[in-house]
Symmetry: C2
Subunit: 530 residues, 2 copies
Amino acid sequence: MGPKDEKAHQTNTKGRMIPSFLDGRELIPYRSYLGIEPIVKREVGRVTRWRRPGDSKVVNTIDEALDRCGLSDGMTISFHHHLRNGDRIINMVMDRIRSRKIKDLRLFPTALFPVHEPLIEALKDGTISSIEGSLNGPIGRFVSLGNLDRPVILRSHSGRVRALSQGEVKIDVAFLSASCCDPLGNANGLMGPSAFGPIGFGYADALFADRTVIITDNIVPFPCLPISIPGTNVDIVAKVDSIGDPGGILSGTLQITDREDHLRIVGSTIEILDLIGLLKDGFAFQAGAGGISLAITKYISDLFERRGIVGSYANGGTTEYLVKMLRNGTLKTLLTGQAFDMEAIRSLREDPCHEEIVVDQYSNIHTGATTTEPEQAAFLGATEVDLDFNVNVNTHSDGYLLHGIGGHQDVAYGSQLTFITVPLERKGNPIIKQRVTTLTTPGELIDIIVTDRGFAVNTEHVRREVRERNLDILSTCTNAGLPVFDIEELRNMVLREGGSDMEARTGDRVIGIIQYIDGTVLDKVNMVLE
Amino acid sequence: MGPKDEKAHQTNTKGRMIPSFLDGRELIPYRSYLGIEPIVKREVGRVTRWRRPGDSKVVNTIDEALDRCGLSDGMTISFHHHLRNGDRIINMVMDRIRSRKIKDLRLFPTALFPVHEPLIEALKDGTISSIEGSLNGPIGRFVSLGNLDRPVILRSHSGRVRALSQGEVKIDVAFLSASCCDPLGNANGLMGPSAFGPIGFGYADALFADRTVIITDNIVPFPCLPISIPGTNVDIVAKVDSIGDPGGILSGTLQITDREDHLRIVGSTIEILDLIGLLKDGFAFQAGAGGISLAITKYISDLFERRGIVGSYANGGTTEYLVKMLRNGTLKTLLTGQAFDMEAIRSLREDPCHEEIVVDQYSNIHTGATTTEPEQAAFLGATEVDLDFNVNVNTHSDGYLLHGIGGHQDVAYGSQLTFITVPLERKGNPIIKQRVTTLTTPGELIDIIVTDRGFAVNTEHVRREVRERNLDILSTCTNAGLPVFDIEELRNMVLREGGSDMEARTGDRVIGIIQYIDGTVLDKVNMVLE
């Protein structure tokens, strides 16, 4: 085997075959859910920012910003996704870059949304030659069909910051939208007509990028308060007419569910939490943005209000349901990395016990603390789960890479009890597989799978530290007559009723890599054959 | 000349003779007030923090903390000074270190106060073999008399952070007091019975130190809000009975003046500001903690209230006088790096337009922005000034090194108009010298010297960019009949009345080095002969 034999393969401890080398890089196979020790010491950037006092940072067009930051072929550029499907910055910047015929860029976004479909043109004409970051929807489909020569690298939110802090990825220019910014580059996303909430997904980019450009439609006199991104890490402030439509942050996954099968999942989850005694003063939890998660938050909120319980804190992805808890006194404190609606933004401005956090604080395991670790329970989704409790959130069963990792691994790693809440089947396709199509989160980190027709507790494949606890949960639930099943029995319910596994038609070519939070490789994603 | 010939000397652009090498290090001579370009890219630490989830950070004694962080001979340790003369941490930690017979430590504090006099014992017995940081009072006297073998290095607040961010100084263990901390190390100085205000002088230490120990008398459940120092940068949380007496932050220099000569200086300064048209809406300024500075703030506050003027912001060192301006609407925003009284602490907790900042944001010139740069005027003190407007704040005319640089260079560099407010003489010793005993801040950065018997405008030795403006100020003041003099004439007033220069009796040995904010060397300090 040659030193960079692109045909060589290796098998990681989860039994996944992955390339030994890919796109010129050596891949380190996944070892354990605990993660490997940091390979390099925290690099935290080797950046020089320096200007003569009085030199202005402000420019009035994206073109001037591109001139000043010296963007050229082969560089790495980054964006944050706080405006979600309302973002105008990525398309705006890419349009000007394409007009300059700059080629071979590496795109390093925190996430992409359907609104970014025009990027496909930049992928086709070679402006962008590789992507490291979450692909959602149309761009995922485009990449899945083998239309990009170089494989995409997917990392969790915190895995991305870890990669930056260890020099695994170097950003040449970060383009960061802000709803409020002063002429020295002190910025936030909380104030101004386009306020979108925290800006913590862009914080590390500003810190580590060689050049940081804040793009804003709202320049205010110094000092812009609060300072979420300090001007110390900013080189250029570009004024534009509009950074986007904050209404677009209320996208797809942010509707509370009213589907009967979903509500059965919610009810079952609350029942388990209550039975095992977690729903009491001091409860700490995280629920994401999916319809089921929103409903779980609302149910907890209602129950706490009825019983007079006061929770300790929640980690957001924050919605009106969490804000309501903070304001009616059923929750003491709220930590927010992303705002999912307007109430979350308002509350961040107004409520003293509601704090904006950056991704490094949220869940980077190569730091001294995470805000996920004190969580007593977390509620996450999945596209598939398997008999070993491994979870897939990236690909659908047909093989298409349509979702990022988001915070899935981060939360599962940190939270003391991790629930996966999923329907038992989708159109006859059982969600519980022999083996997940793509491995996103190791089963060791998953404790309970709750479906609309029963749930399973992970006592066999779970991390050793909590096996006894999970055995207790299993027997408590069994004794209480709750619908607890062996996970294979849940799968068999669907098969017995005529359901069958959707098969992915994929080729040999690797179009993507799934990293674990520590930088090791969990799985590859293969090209879909149409 | 050998490569590290300790006898070799060089002369910097200010005509100061400094050693070429000192204590094994090559000294870079001062070149210009604009500073040199960063010699190395911003290092921002190469730190690994990593722990297994669930591992506790909390220890109950300083000894346990020392065990865990592996403190040993020759290491560099650091402390912040937010508790000022009320601090108990430094003596407490040094006591335990001495009992372990650890030797040859480098002490890297942000400042030392009279309360730290017991450190002299640790200097005598070799526990501490060198100091890089401000020396105040008794330790300065001890060092001045040649009692420490290795020379001390003095840096401004921001020069210290620059040194950290460029790897010039590496901290092995940072011991940082906090008045509120959770078990994961998220900490602040705002809450709890020993609240002392911002903790921004410790922020860089936590970021760059190999090991960070938070020492607190108030552990609260996660999450400690607000998070001023994130637990991501903390390894150990040590619980002690008391971190100190917050009353001690109200030390020496924090009494507003009522001396008649001082009030003449204040009146004159306000008169100049008013005459040149700065006292209007949008005024941005910084006044320190000395009695004269406090009075200037109070006069500005009263005048703004009478005239209905609204200032833009002030940079603090924050006192009740600035808080009053914020609260009565004569100041829009307040940025605070240090709290100088209880009102400042309370306001930071309560007032939304009052923000805590860290030193890197305040004035590190090797970043993309400082909060001093937008200041229209700043008011600083001096022990001596010379005919070239150079300022000494470190030594007294008798040669004793009794004060740190503090933010003197930082503010003079950033502020658009820098006033030095000083009495014309101290006990017959003229404050204006032919040549300052020690060069702390280059005269290029100083615009106006205001004394109790007249003032001088720097038109000749000032930075080129503002020479025209200062000529305008000079003629405006002259035409208005204000007591403006040539600086030499101010000196001669004292000499004519029988005053004479106090002479420092110093030897050849260099006991200290004064760095400029960029890391170049402005001056040396020689041993005092008793």
